[in-house]
């Protein structure tokens, strides 16, 4: 009955996941992962799992990107610091 909606959400998630792998720069990957989190949340809602969707929203929209970006920043800062001392 809701087939088109489910298909669209599934394809969106699949496309996002593929993009998250294909984008090689970790900062840009974090952006794609944030979108993937949102897409997954929509898919879960469509699959009638609002609890899981809420969980995914809480984690995927702010927490995971923040963790990833902070790691990137730490790693970058070290590399930049290394460049200066050379």
């Amino acid at each position: 009955m809701d087939d088109p909606l489910i298909v669209v959400a599934l394809l969106l998630v699949a496309a996002c996941a593929t993009a998250a792998v294909a984008v090689r720069d970790p900062e840009r990957q974090a952006l794609v992962l944030a979108v993937l989190g949102t897409a997954l949340a929509v898919l879960f809602t469509v699959l009638q799992a609002p609890d899981v969707g809420l969980s995914q929203l809480a984690v995927g929209s702010a927490l995971t990107p923040l963790l990833l970006m902070l790691s990137v920043r730490k790693v970058r800062r070290r590399e930049r610091g290394k460049g200066r001392t050379r």
């Binding site: 969106l12 900062e27 897409a39």
Partner: protein, 150 residues
């Protein structure tokens, strides 16, 4: 399938596809804008779904997304400020279009819901959605620039 879910499907297919394309390709500035738009689009979609499924409790998802979506974008704006400085992304037309779309959805749903607790929740969600979207896109366009990054 009713009108609400049909609208949601259409928005998801067009808007979702566009944001995925936008976030996966192109310069960094365009990618962050696409990320911001993805949350501001997904939020009205969730509202439409809640209405379409006849499940007012699903509105909680939209509320949480309206709260945390802009937070996520602010994270990117803050931590990518240096990279964005050179070319501050501005996508005014798209941002306003999405904001208007969100506001329209909220108003229509409020009209359907009628006064009551549900309407308050919808209004709060709508206000957070529109304000968050605008603030986040402003932050991306240079809200953090000139700051030292602490």
């Amino acid at each position: 399938m009713n009108g609400w879910t049909a609208t949601a499907t259409a928005v998801l297919a067009l808007g979702g596809g566009a944001t995925v394309w936008g976030v996966a390709t192109g310069p960094l500035g365009r990618r962050v804008v696409a990320q911001n738009l993805s949350t501001s689009l997904a939020c009205p979609v969730l509202l439409l779904l809640a209405q379409g499924y006849g499940r007012p409790s699903y509105v909680d998802l939209a509320l949480v997304l309206a709260l945390l979506g802009p937070v996520g974008t602010l994270v990117f704006a803050r931590l990518l400020a240096e990279d964005l400085e050179g070319d501050p992304p501005g996508a005014r037309a798209a941002t306003y279009a999405v904001a208007v779309f969100g506001a329209t959805v909220v108003i229509v749903l409020c009209a359907v819901a009628g006064p009551g607790r549900a309407m308050v929740k919808l209004l709060v969600t709508g206000a957070l959605l529109v304000a968050g979207n605008l603030v986040a896109s402003r932050a991306l366009a240079g809200g953090f620039s000139g700051s030292r990054h602490g």
